[in-house]
């Protein structure tokens, strides 16, 4: 007979948490050092977000799995022991706050949009460029987008053209081919793709269309062409465009340095948000972001060239944004209570 209480005890066991902490620390150290060689985003995907990863052909638990196990463990622990006794209340609050934080992080990870918006002075846009997600864009001879296909879970999503058998590789390396296959088209005849062991800045996509193999990468100097129903189109692999329900215009970018130095004092973007018939002016500057309709705009960077100044804003939409704030309050409260009812007792002896 399955004793639920015993199962919960097993999942909630402190010893299990102890080993989870230990493994998470190993992951942190390995993953942080790897960042120097493989780049921030790649190592995040490999070590911190994954459920498992392979090293020397052996599967190891990834950060995602550990966090999931910790969440289940915290839930089990709360179900088993929650009470309001003074000497345990602090701990329960800490566990509750932590559970909330972990669940919130999983929610944000799956649902948030993070991208950038680069505007020249005087320019207006209503789309932002996603930092991480890519899309395959097919352009007609006037360079107008004919079709944009999302890329999710490392492959192109199902589409009306029938592009399939796809694979996207970030941190990619081009490998010159020594021979070519009959069904390889254009660039695919000359180069193969391989995962690079260091940060390459290149993302590659390989796919099949009408049984022919195509290979493209982002920022290709010469775009690969694709023939659909006798008409020629060009292919572009670029970061995904996300449309905003309003548009943003940069009126002026102002930068201030500490007098007589190149140390930045403040960077400001004066923008106008056009939403339907409403036009409102806002200022975005370092440490003072703009929050509008669930989107938050941060002053991230800027650039200057002969045409003028451009402001780069970081844009985030995260409906789980408040969760860490609430968790922090609950955890702080819990730790304070625990310190007063347990910690100081131990120090007094």
């Amino acid at each position: 007979m399955i004793n639920i209480r015993n199962i919960l005890r097993l999942i909630a066991s402190t010893k299990l948490f102890f080993y989870e902490c230990f493994w998470l620390m190993i992951l942190l150290i390995v993953g942080t050092v790897a960042q120097k060689y493989e780049g921030l985003f790649e190592t995040q995907k490999t070590y911190f977000f994954s459920y498992y990863f392979l090293k020397w052909h052996i599967p190891f638990p990834g950060g995602g799995l550990i966090i999931l196990l910790m969440s289940i463990g915290l839930m089990a622990r709360l179900i088993l022991d929650f009470n309001f006794k003074k000497n345990k209340l602090g701990i329960h609050l800490v566990h509750l706050g932590s559970l909330f934080l972990l669940l919130g992080s999983m929610f944000s990870h799956l649902n948030s949009i993070e991208g950038s918006l680069i505007l020249k002075e005087g320019e207006q846009k209503n789309t932002i460029t996603d930092y991480k997600e890519f899309e395959l864009t097919i352009l007609d001879d006037q360079s107008t987008p004919f079709l944009s296909i999302d890329i999710k879970n490392n492959e192109v999503v199902s589409n009306k053209l029938g592009i399939n058998n796809s694979k996207i590789i970030s941190n990619c390396e081009l490998v010159k081919k020594s021979s070519e296959l009959k069904n390889e088209i254009g660039f695919a005849k000359l180069f193969d793709f391989k995962k690079s062991s260091s940060e390459s800045g290149i993302t590659c996509l390989e796919f099949k269309y009408n049984n022919n193999v195509y290979r493209i990468f982002n920022d290709m100097p010469k775009l690969q062409s694709l023939v659909i129903d006798g008409k020629e189109y060009t292919l572009k692999l670029q970061n995904k465009s996300v449309t905003l329900p309003f548009s943003v215009k940069l009126n002026d970018f102002q930068k201030e340095f500490h007098p007589d130095t190149l140390i930045s004092k403040s960077f400001k973007s004066l923008v106008t948000i056009s939403d339907g018939k409403l036009n409102t002016n806002y200022t975005i500057q370092m440490n003072l972001p703009l929050r509008y309709k669930g989107f938050t705009f941060y002053q991230s960077s800027f650039s200057e060239n002969s045409n003028g100044e451009s402001s780069e804003l970081a844009v985030v939409k995260n409906s789980g944004e408040l969760i860490p704030y609430i968790s922090t309050i609950i955890i702080t409260l819990g730790l304070l209570i625990h310190l007063f009812y347990n910690g100081f007792n131990k120090l007094r002896e």
Binding site: C21, S105, P259, T261, K265, M286, Y298, K346
Partner: protein
């Protein structure tokens, strides 16, 4: 606190008011983004060239006045420190001297013009260490030259007259030629000395614009030349405070008291005389008070909370360790708290001296780090956490070495305290990141470091309550926390990656490795020794 600082400034000013370059020190200069007294710049420059802020019993401000007003005399002073003996051979300098004069460098660099040109054209990361030091020496030489010519219009080199005196008068050919020669100096880059209604000018810039605005400087020059009393300079409280701060290097005094406390408490452990413990503790208290005043002065002068760069964080954690040590001693009265406080206070304060960038401990910080509520609360909380963890680690060492396992409960209590501040500090860091950049957690090295310390503390505490760690293992793991904190605090900077990178330093890398190795060996030995005795 502000009133206390002003009071101290006032008292010390009264006591030392009788000093020759007193007024001159107060002149305000715009240097590297901050308005500061000329006294600070003088000390900085002298430290850059010579290595110390005193030259052969001449204080920095006096040396600087000579450089500005009487460069001919200054040029022959042996002020430039040759750090590397190889430089002597490469540049064919007089090999018996560690310090060279401006004149000697001028002649040397003139002969080696092509060599210097090549060094200047080579990118920084391709220079080897010696060539890099030659480049630094050359840059110091140029800096010195520019400063020496800042007030050349005042130098009385033409029949007892200067360009200042001659301008605006009817002149003969030779006088006009003399003036033309000096006009070259107006193009040299130099400090913005003079504030004229809100805009800062270099001396020559203002001279060419409106020479009458320089009358105060003409008076200063003449009183320097005639060895007279200098005219009174307008000043404000912050300037006065900074001059006092420069003069009474409070961090040195604080360190001295911490070291005295350390030595006396060691004596107490060998002799068991309670009087020694009390004296050691008093010394620690005095050092702590001076340390607090030191940080308060900085805060007042810079107008921001003193936690904006690595140097300031080390100074702050040093103070926290000392305070927690004192509080623990107050409870237990057995000398352990004093020992921990004085040891950590001394080591960290000493460490801070090596982390001052380019001799300027009061530099401006970039926009994103400037005055932000969440930044300040995050850094203060996590610094308290790191300080408390270091104290706990030292207590664990004491428990293991003296085999006093009855103190385990105290250690556990201290760890709960550390846990609170480290975890809340880490989360406040996330909140700051969310407020400033839009994401609560980015898995970047500094964030991962803080998370590592948090996890380590959770790991120890859960190890104990689950029974996996017996008392010995609990103490060993707690003792090892010092390595974890150092890794998180300093180690992450070595990776040079992400938003928080500060750059690699091989000195730091070797020190961290050395500390880790020593701790591993020591703790392994202590483990087996304690295990055998249980």
């Amino acid at each position: 606190m502000k009133i206390l600082i002003l009071l101290i400034t006032f008292i010390l000013n009264m006591a030392y008011a009788d000093f020759k370059f007193d007024q001159f020190s107060k002149i305000q200069i715009l240097h590297e983004g901050r308005v500061k007294p000329i006294d600070t710049v003088a000390r900085l420059k002298l430290k850059n060239y010579y290595g110390k802020d005193v030259f052969n019993n001449t204080i920095a401000i006096e040396w600087f006045a000579e450089l500005l007003f009487n460069p001919k005399s200054a040029y022959s002073k042996e002020i430039f420190k040759i750090k590397n003996p190889d430089i002597i051979n490469i540049l064919n300098l007089n090999s018996s001297k560690k310090y060279v004069s401006f004149i000697e460098l001028y002649q040397t660099f003139d002969k080696k013009k092509d060599f210097i040109d090549n060094i200047l054209k080579t990118p920084e990361n391709e220079l080897d260490l010696t060539n890099k030091e030659i480049k630094d020496l050359y840059n110091n030489f140029l800096d010195y030259l520019n400063l020496s010519r800042s007030f050349s219009f005042l130098h009385q080199e033409f029949n007892g007259s200067s360009v200042f005196d001659l301008t605006g008068k009817k002149l003969d050919q030779s006088a006009l030629k003399y003036i033309e020669l000096f006009k070259e100096d107006s193009n040299l880059p130099t400090l913005k000395f003079i504030n004229n209604d809100g805009i800062w000018f270099s001396p020559w810039e203002l001279f060419l614009k409106d020479k009458n605005k320089l009358n105060t400087w003409d008076q200063l020059y003449l009183s320097y030349y005639n060895k007279d009393i200098m005219p009174k300079i307008s000043t404000n409280n912050k300037i006065e405070a900074e001059i006092i701060f420069n003069k009474f290097k409070l961090d040195n005094y604080s360190l001295a008291f911490y070291l005295i406390s350390f030595l006396i408490i060691i004596a107490y452990f060998f002799s068991d005389k309670n009087a020694l413990r009390k004296i050691a503790n008093s010394s620690l208290i005095l050092g702590t008070i001076i340390h607090i005043i030191f940080i308060s002065f900085r805060s007042y002068i810079l107008n921001r909370a003193p936690v904006s760069n690595l140097y300031e964080s080390i100074v702050f954690v040093s103070l926290i360790s000392s305070i927690i040590g004192l509080l623990y001693e107050n409870k237990k009265q057995n000398g352990h708290g004093t020992f921990i406080g004085s040891t950590l206070g001394s080591i960290l304060l000493l460490l801070s001296f090596g982390h001052i960038n380019s001799n300027d401990s009061m530099s401006m910080v970039v926009a994103v780090l400037d005055t932000n509520f969440w930044l300040i609360t995050h850094v203060i909380t996590i610094s308290i956490g790191y300080g408390a963890t270091l104290v706990a680690s030292m207590l664990a060492h004491i428990i293991l070495i003296k085999k006093e396992f009855k103190l385990i409960k105290n250690l556990h209590g201290l760890l709960i305290f550390s846990l609170l501040f480290v975890i809340v500090g880490t989360m406040l860091g996330g909140i700051w990141a969310d407020q400033s950049w839009g994401r609560f957690w980015g898995w970047d090295p500094k964030e991962n470091g803080a998370l590592l310390v948090s996890l380590w503390l959770l790991f120890i505490v859960h190890g104990k309550i689950s029974g996996i760690f017996n008392q010995i293992l609990f103490a060993i793991a707690s003792a090892f926390s010092s390595v974890i904190v150092i890794l998180a605090w300093f180690g992450v900077n070595l990776l040079n990656v992400g938003l928080h990178s500060y750059g690699f330093s091989s000195g730091t890398a070797y020190s961290i490795l050395a500390l880790s190795a020593v701790e591993i060996v020591l703790l392994t030995a202590l483990y087996f020794r304690n295990k055998l005795l249980m």
